[in-house]
């Protein structure tokens, strides 16, 4: 996609009326928002703040309330309780057309009876932009998504990927305060999806509009977002940068949803130590323990474990399974504390040696250890 100098209008950060708030102010704020459909609680007492200019992802499994949250920000659903702010303004009761927000719909929802030009111009026309400006801005927006020259086509004459770009241009041309994207890449094949992830990120950098991106794909969220809210059953389970969520998941659900992790049950045995159920004490940082006492689960990512070495934490075990997965070799190791998955980089020659049935010494530093309340993904 063109990120060349062809589109100064869209890239320009200041808004027409100069009312863009100082960067410290959040663009979207949800305060204790609940949405109930009959007896289903789709969104449950959710509070959220989205910083201006950020690429924000709502990540979670299907049915956890992501779309409903997005639709409430867009104005298509009214919360059962709670307040929604865009910048300083309380927009809870405002209809969609009075909100300075645009949406890229999952189905694209392009107007089939209108040309690509008219699709993109739709929002500008409704707001009464002057003719010349409409032509210029639509041109810029189509240039931004690398669709220049297709103005006269009808949506059905474009491929899925092209339609997706039109939907993006149609929203961005209005320079909204916030752009909402509901699984925008869901309908594309894997290769195109990977490509569009990078392009979307590039476009967001260029236009500096706040993006709120809904996805159930953890890799997509990690690749694109500055901050991710992991949702589960209508609530935010944890909010943070991709690396925070990965390195320091606070719940078993987050640890399991973002990548693979080993969770070993144990009991807190000091202000920086946990005694595993199978015996043996593991050192953690006080930070990771975060004041927990009693029963906890200890978490280690498989790639943080070394085979041999002199790290503070050691666990002895027997190799049960070994499988070669290209960049790494995966071992399943039976230890007194339970089964542990280990990824061993294939750059290390020693890795090739461990055969099924051989003894292994697993090593990892306290900083690579995180602690969650329980091994259960969904607390009862």
């Amino acid at each position: 996609m063109s990120t060349s100098a062809a589109n100064p209008g869209l890239r320009a950060q200041p808004r027409d009326d100069g009312s863009r708030p100082a960067p410290a102010v959040s663009d979207v704020r949800l305060e204790r928002v609940t949405k109930r459909f009959d007896d289903v609680v789709a969104v449950d007492d959710l509070s959220l703040e989205i910083e201006h200019g950020s690429f924000f992802a709502l990540l979670g499994p299907s049915g956890c309330g992501k779309t409903t949250t997005l639709r409430m920000i867009g104005g298509f659903e009214e919360p059962t309780a709670g307040t929604i702010f865009l910048g300083e303004q309380d927009v809870t009761g405002l209809p969609p057309y009075k909100r300075d927000v645009n949406t890229v719909f999952q189905s694209y929802a392009l107007f089939p009876h209108l040309s690509i030009f008219e699709n993109v111009a739709f929002g500008l026309r409704r707001r009464g932009a002057p003719r010349g400006e409409i032509g210029r801005r639509v041109g810029e927006a189509l240039e931004l998504v690398a669709l220049g020259g297709l103005e006269k086509r009808k949506p059905r004459q474009l491929s899925g990927g092209q339609q997706q770009r039109v939907a993006l241009a149609r929203a961005l041309v209005n320079r909204p305060r916030v752009l909402l994207l509901d699984e925008p890449l869901g309908a594309l094949d894997l290769k195109l999806r990977k490509q569009m992830q990078l392009e979307l990120k590039g476009i967001q950098n260029e236009v500096a509009v706040t993006f709120v991106h809904v996805t159930h794909d953890q890799e997509e969220a990690m690749t694109m977002a500055d901050r991710i809210a992991v949702m589960n059953e209508g609530r935010v389970e944890q909010l943070g940068s991709p690396s925070e969520l990965y390195e320091r998941p606070r719940t078993a659900f987050v640890a399991g949803f973002l990548g693979v992790s080993n969770l070993l049950p144990g009991t807190v045995s000091g202000d920086a130590a946990v005694r595993l159920d199978g015996g043996g004490e593991v050192r953690v940082t006080p930070d990771a323990l975060a004041g927990r006492t009693g029963r906890v689960a200890l978490g280690i990512r498989p790639e943080k474990i070394r085979l041999g070495g002199d790290e503070a934490n050691v666990l002895e075990g027997v190799v049960e399974e070994r499988s070669y997965i290209g960049v790494a070799t995966q071992y399943i190791v039976a230890t007194p504390a339970g089964l542990v998955t280990v990824y061993s980089q294939n750059s290390e020659p020693s890795a090739a040696a461990a055969a099924v049935g051989s003894r292994m010494s697993l090593n990892w530093p306290p900083e690579a250890t995180f602690v969650v309340d329980t091994t259960q993904e969904v607390p009862k």
Binding site: G74, G75, F76, P95, P96, Y97, V101, N102, T103, F105, S107, A109, L110, F111, P112, H113, F122, G123, R126, R127, K154, P155, R156, R170, A171, N174
Partner: protein, 289 residues
């Protein structure tokens, strides 16, 4: 079967054959006889003879121009009223009908369970001088003490509107039902109020329904004679009444045939012009992308 395997190209034509034969037998042949009859002279007693009697056509224009004009006018008005009544109805059923949709649609076509003639006779009773509708209108001073409903242009146009309403409502419903609700949301997302979203998205996407509905209403309405006969006076006579009386009462078959031909040709030209104006692509294409 061997034959079909070897001549696969023939299959479509074989499938078309029954339909084509039907059309030839029941449309082209009668049309030929209609044209043939329209150029005859004579009467019931001395018989009819073909004589290139073009005067049947010049008479059709000179003597019955008023009836043609009235037919088009009444049919046009009835189509307009049917559209104005049906659109909100179809819109409401399609968008708000929920689980009552099928029942409501059934109610729309319910009048079809009663024959056309009986329905129109029922209207005669409803609009009668002693009927309650006139009573109410008189009480409200919307109609003068000696005002009437029956035997007026209003009654005829109202009757036609009523009788052809389902032909308008059903195609409208089908096209509105197909309008993707997410497009309406997209329009509202792009700063269109409810009204603007309707005008810019829903309405244009329902054009195929409007097109089909107006044709299905206008064409039969233009040839209608029952409503003028039962609800009107000689001053409301439409071209259908003339054709009917020329044919059945006076047995002036050539004149009746010529009038029929002019009506058919006129409607054909009108439909072509209308299709042109709406744009044949928009008129027939589905609303889905």
């Amino acid at each position: 079967m061997h034959f079909l395997h070897r001549h696969r190209g023939l299959v479509p034509y074989l499938l078309l054959a029954p339909g084509l034969a039907w059309l030839a037998l029941f449309f082209l042949v009668p049309m030929y006889y209609l044209g043939y009859t329209s150029l005859q002279t004579g009467d019931l007693f001395s018989g009819y003879a073909f004589s290139w009697a073009w005067e049947n056509y010049s008479d059709a224009f000179s003597l019955y121009r008023g009836h043609f004009a009235r037919s088009l006018q009444y049919a046009g008005l009835a189509t307009l009223f049917a559209l104005l009544i049906s659109y909100p109805l179809a819109y409401w059923i399609a968008f708000r009908g929920g689980r009552w949709k099928n029942l409501l649609l059934l109610l729309v076509i319910a009048p079809f369970f009663v024959t056309y003639l009986i329905r129109t006779l029922a209207w005669k009773t409803i609009l009668a001088d002693q009927g309650f509708v006139l009573d109410v209108l008189r009480t409200l001073h919307l109609v003068g003490e000696d005002g009437r409903l029956l035997a007026t242009t209003t009654a005829v146009v109202a009757g036609i509107t009523y009788n052809y309403l389902p032909f308008m409502a059903l195609p409208l419903y089908v096209s509105l039902e197909q309008v993707d609700r997410r497009l309406v949301e997209a329009a509202e997302d792009l700063y269109a109020s409810g009204t603007k979203a309707f005008l810019r998205v829903t309405l244009p996407l329902s054009v195929p329904g409007i097109f089909a509905g107006t044709l299905l209403t206008f064409i039969p309405a233009a040839g209608d004679f029952i409503n003028a006969e039962l609800l009107g006076t000689p001053r409301q006579q439409m071209i259908g009444n003339v054709i009917q009386s020329r044919f059945k009462e006076v047995a002036d078959y050539p004149q009746a045939a010529a009038l029929s031909f002019v009506l058919i040709a006129g409607l054909l030209v009108a439909v072509l012009a209308y299709t042109r104006a709406v744009g044949s692509e928009r008129a027939t294409q589905g609303t889905v992308a």
